[in-house]
Amino acid sequence: MKLKEIDRTAMQAWSPAQQHPIYLATGTSAQQLDATFSTSASLEIFELDLSDPSLDMKSCATFSSSHRYHKLIWGPHSMNSGERVSGVLIAGGENGNVILYDPAKVIAGDAEVVIAQKDKHTGPVRALDVNMFQTNLVASGANESEIYIWDLNNFATPMTPGVKTQPLEDISCIAWNRQVQHILASASPSGRTTVWDLRKNEPIIKVSDHNNRMHCSGLAWHPDVATQMVLASEDDRLPVIQMWDLRFASSPLRVLENHTRGILAIAWSMADSELLLSCGKDAKILCSNPNTGEVLYELPTNTQWCFDIQWCPRNPAVLSAASFDGRISIYSIMGGSTDGLRQKQVDQLSSSFGNLDPFGTGQSLPPLQLPQQTAPQSIVLPLKKPPKWIRRPVGASFSFGGKLVTFENAKSQQQPGIEQQQQQRHHVYVSQVVTEEEFLARSNQLQEAVQSEGFVSYCQRKIDMAQADFEKNVWAFLKVNFEEDSRVKYLELLGYRKDDVRKKVNMPGSCACVKCFTDGYVDGLITQTLLTGNFESAVDLCLHDNRMADAIILAIAGGQELLSRTQEKYFAKMQSKITRLITAVVTKNWKEIVQSCDLQNWREALAAVLTYARPDEFAALCDLLGNRLESEGDSLLQTQACLCYICAGNVEKLVACWTKARDGNSPFHRSCWLS
C-alpha cells in the first residue's frame, strides 16, 4: 500500500539502519529532466513519519547544490564514533566527481555540508556502493572500466581493485559482497560482470552469459549465500533476472522471467533473502522469490516506469520507487487499505472548509458527489508468504503453578539450490520455575492436599512445621475450618474451654476463694463462663458474689428453667420479711403460705388466696386455712374459720364450726342454716 509521495525527479537514498528517525535523501537526477527543464540541482532530506497518515512526506532540509547526480548512497560511516551522527551521503556526479556530504549538517541547515569531493573519474559516476563490513570503504564505477575504492578516512587517495578490465566499458553497477568483505562485483551494460578480490587486488572471475545479449541494469549479491548474485537485464528481448552461482559460472542457475519488458532496477531485501524487488518497462513493480522464481507480490502502481527502487534498511516492510513522472512513492508490502488515507484527506479538507463556502457567500457547500467509477480494488493483498521479519521464532509464557512454556525453532542449515528434506523437530518445553525450592515443595503439598481433600492433615503438618506463634495460630484456625463442630474448636483455640471453665467455677472452695480475690478475678471468671455460653455457672458465680441483679438478669437470658432454679436459689439465699410473700407470688406456691403462715395473719393469708389462688385449688386452700384456724387457733380464730368455710363453700364444716362456736345454741339456728 502506498504510504507517501514526493514530487521530485531525483535519485534516492534511505538513511542507514542505525539512523532513527528514518530519512530519505533525494538528489536531483542528472539523467532526467522535469517538465520545467530546470537545470538547478538540490539535495533534499525527507523524514518518514508513519504516525502521520497523510501521503505527504515532511521535507526536513534542502541544500542547493551545484551538481546533479547519477547516484546517491547513504552510509553509516562514523555513526558509531559519533563524529557524524547521521552517517555520510555519497553522491556520484555528472562530471566524474564523488562528493561526500554530511546529512546531519544538511538537516541542521548549515551552509558547509560538503565533507570532501574528488574529481577522479573521467565520466559520470553511475555506480556507488558502501562496504557493509568496513563502512569507510566506498566503491565507485564510471566510464572506461574505472573503479575506485575510496577510504572515507583518507579520501584523497583512492585505490583500484586491480587492472582495468578490457575492453574498456562503462561500469553501470557495482556491489560489495554481503558475506565476504573483500569481494566486489562490477557489471557493465554488455552483461559482463567481474568479481574482484581486494586482497589479491585482481579479478578472480568474470561472469557473462555468452548465449544471450543482455543489457545489465542491475546487480545484487545474495544476502545469505556468498557465491550467488543476480543480474537484471534491461533488454526487452531478454527481460529477465538471472541468478548466478560463481561456483558454476558458465550459465545462470535460474532465470526469472516475470517481467514482460526490460528491467530497470532491482533491490534485494537484507531482512528477508526471499524478497527481491524489480521494476521494469512494463510499468510493474514485482516482488519475487529469487530462490524459487515465484512472484510473491505485485505493487499497485500507476502506469509509469520506475527507474530506481530501494528497500528501507531500518523498516524492512518499506520501499521507495522513483518513477519517470517525477514522483517518488513510498510503499509498504504488508498490505492494507488505502481507504483510510483517502478518507483522511477528505476529512482534512472538510475540516478546513467547514460546511461553509470558503468564498464567504455564507452558503453551505453541496455534498460531494463522486462519480461512480469502477475503481480498482482499494484493498491491497499482502505478500503471498509472510516475510521473515514477522515470523516469530521464539517465545515464552507463564502458566499456573509457576510453569513456563517455551518453544524454539532450531535454525536449519540452508543450502539453497540443493533440495534437502530436513526433519526438524519442533519442540515445546514446559519448565517449572521456582524461585525458592521450598516453595515448590510446599506448592506440591498443597496441590496434593487439594486433590486428596486431606485438608486437616495438611494443616496439621503446617502447624507442626510452623515456627512463629502467629503462623501456628493461623494454620490451627484453618484446620478447624475443615473439622466438624468448628465453632467449639475455635473457642478452644482462643483459650476458652467450656469444661475447664465449669471446673473452675465448681471447684470446692472456689466460692470462698472468690471472696479472697479482687472483683477482677470474678469478673474474669464470669466473662469466661459467659463467652463459653455457660449461663448456669455464670449465674452461680453472680449469686455467690452477691450480684443478685446480674444473676437474675442473666437467668432470664438463660431460659425458663434456669430462671426458675435461679429464683429458688435466690429465695434460699435471701431472707427478708416479705421474701416469703414474693416467693409465693413467683412460685405460686400458696399452699406453703397457708400452711406455714402466722395465724394472726390469717386475714392476709385469706386475701392472698382470694387474689391469687387458681379456681381448682381455691376451695382446698380456704379449707386448709379454716382447718388450721380451728385446730391451731384460739377460740376467736376458730370462729373466724367459719368465714373460711364460707369461702370454700364447705357447708358441713361450716355448720360444724358454727355449732361449735355457738355451742349449744338452739336448734333454731341450725335449722335456719340448713335451710
Binding site: S332, G335, L381, P386, V405, Q432, T435
Partner: protein, 323 residues
C-alpha cells in the same frame, strides 16, 4: 538463591514448520501450539504427558498466536494468522470445531488477546493493516465487531488487556449492582509506539501514546493485577530494548518508562508470571531470560533459560554487565 528452572515436559508437537506460539490453558492442563504449517494443535499435558487432543485446520497461512478464553465460557481457543483471519474454536462434546471466523482485516492478523472474563467474551485482534478489531460475543452464536482503524500506521503487532479492576475496589464494597468497569488495553505497532485504548460510551478512544522505542514494538504485556492501584506494562521492540511502564495514579494519565535492558538482538516477546513478579523476555536467537524487580526498583536477570538442556545458568554479575 538463583531460581530453579527445570524442564518437566518436552512436547514433540510434530509441527512441520516453525512454531510461533505455545500457550497453556487456565488450569495448566492443556497446551495449544500454532505454526507456520497452518495448523493449531492442542495437547493434554497433565502429569508430564503429551496426548494430542486436536489438530485444527482452517487457516490458509502461518498461524501467529493462540489465546485461551476463561474456562467459565467453556473450552474456547482463538487463533490469528497471516491469512488475515481470526478463528475462534470451541470444544463441544469432546470435539473441537470452528465456532466463528472473522475476515474483516486486510492484512496479516498478528495478535489476539481475550479480555478479562468479567467483561464478557471479548477478543482484541491486532493486524498489519494497522487496525485493531474487538469481537464481542453477544449470545446465540452472534458476535459484534468494533474496529479501530489506523490504530498504528503500517501495522499493529501486539495487543494486551489491562486486568479488570473496578475503580476504588479496594476500598468500596460494590453493593450488588454490576460494577462499572473501565475497559482498557495496550497495543504496540510498527510506528514504534505503545498505545493505550479506553472505552468511553461504547467507543474506543486512544488514551495514551507511549513513546520510547526507536523501532517496531514487537510485543506488549499488561501485568496481572495484584490488588494495588499501580498499573504496569512491559514492551519490547526490534531495537532490542525492553521497557517497563508504570502508572501510579488511578486515572491512568502519567506513565513513566524504565529501561529493563538493551539486548543485542530483536526482542520478540514479553510475558508476565501469574503473580506479576517475574517477566519472561524472549529474544534474538532462542534466548529466554527471566527478570525480577528487586526491592529497590531495579530489574535484574534471575535466569537464563537453556532449553533442551533444562539447566539453569544463573547469570553472574559480569555477564549481566556485558549484556
Amino acid at each position: 538463591l538463583p531460581p530453579q528452572v527445570s524442564v518437566i515436559n518436552t512436547v514433540d508437537t510434530s509441527h512441520e514448520d516453525m512454531i510461533h506460539d505455545a500457550q497453556m490453558d487456565y488450569y495448566g492442563t492443556r497446551l495449544a501450539t500454532c505454526s507456520s504449517d497452518r495448523s493449531v494443535k492442542i495437547f493434554d499435558v497433565r502429569n508430564g504427558g503429551q496426548i494430542l487432543i486436536a489438530d485444527l485446520r482452517g487457516h490458509e497461512g502461518p498461524v501467529w498466536q493462540v489465546a485461551w478464553a476463561h474456562p467459565m465460557y467453556g473450552n474456547i481457543l482463538a487463533s490469528c494468522s497471516y491469512d488475515r483471519k481470526v478463528i475462534v474454536w470451541k470444544e463441544e462434546n469432546g470435539t473441537w470445531e470452528k465456532t466463528y471466523e472473522y475476515t474483516g482485516h486486510d492484512s496479516s492478523v498478528n495478535s489476539v488477546c481475550w479480555a478479562p472474563h468479567d467483561y464478557g467474551l471479548i477478543l482484541a485482534c491486532g493486524s498489519s493493516d494497522g487496525a485493531i478489531s474487538l469481537l464481542s460475543y453477544t449470545g446465540d452464536g452472534q458476535w459484534e465487531v468494533k474496529k479501530i482503524s489506523n490504530a498504528h500506521t503500517i501495522g499493529c503487532n501486539a495487543v494486551s488487556w489491562a486486568p479488570a479492576v473496578v475503580p476504588g475496589s479496594l476500598i468500596e464494597q460494590p453493593s450488588g449492582q454490576k460494577p462499572n468497569y473501565i475497559k482498557r488495553f495496550a497495543s504496540g505497532g510498527c510506528d514504534n509506539l505503545v498505545k493505550i485504548w479506553k472505552e468511553e460510551d461504547g467507543q474506543w478512544k486512544e488514551e495514551q501514546k507511549l513513546e520510547a522505542h526507536s523501532d517496531w514494538v514487537r510485543d506488549v504485556a499488561w501485568a496481572p493485577s495484584i490488588g494495588l492501584p499501580t498499573s504496569t506494562i512491559a514492551s519490547c521492540s526490534q531495537d532490542g530494548r525492553v521497557f517497563i511502564w508504570t502508572c501510579d495514579d488511578a486515572s491512568g494519565n502519567s506513565w513513566s518508562p524504565k529501561l529493563l535492558h538493551k539486548f543485542n538482538d530483536v526482542v520478540w516477546h514479553v510475558s508476565w508470571s501469574i503473580t506479576a513478579n517475574i517477566l519472561a523476555v524472549s529474544g534474538g536467537d532462542n534466548k529466554v531470560t527471566l527478570w525480577k524487580e528487586s526491592v529497590d526498583g531495579l530489574w535484574a536477570c534471575i535466569s537464563d533459560v537453556n532449553k533442551g538442556q533444562g539447566g539453569v545458568s544463573a547469570i553472574t554479575e559480569g555477564q549481566q554487565n556485558e549484556q
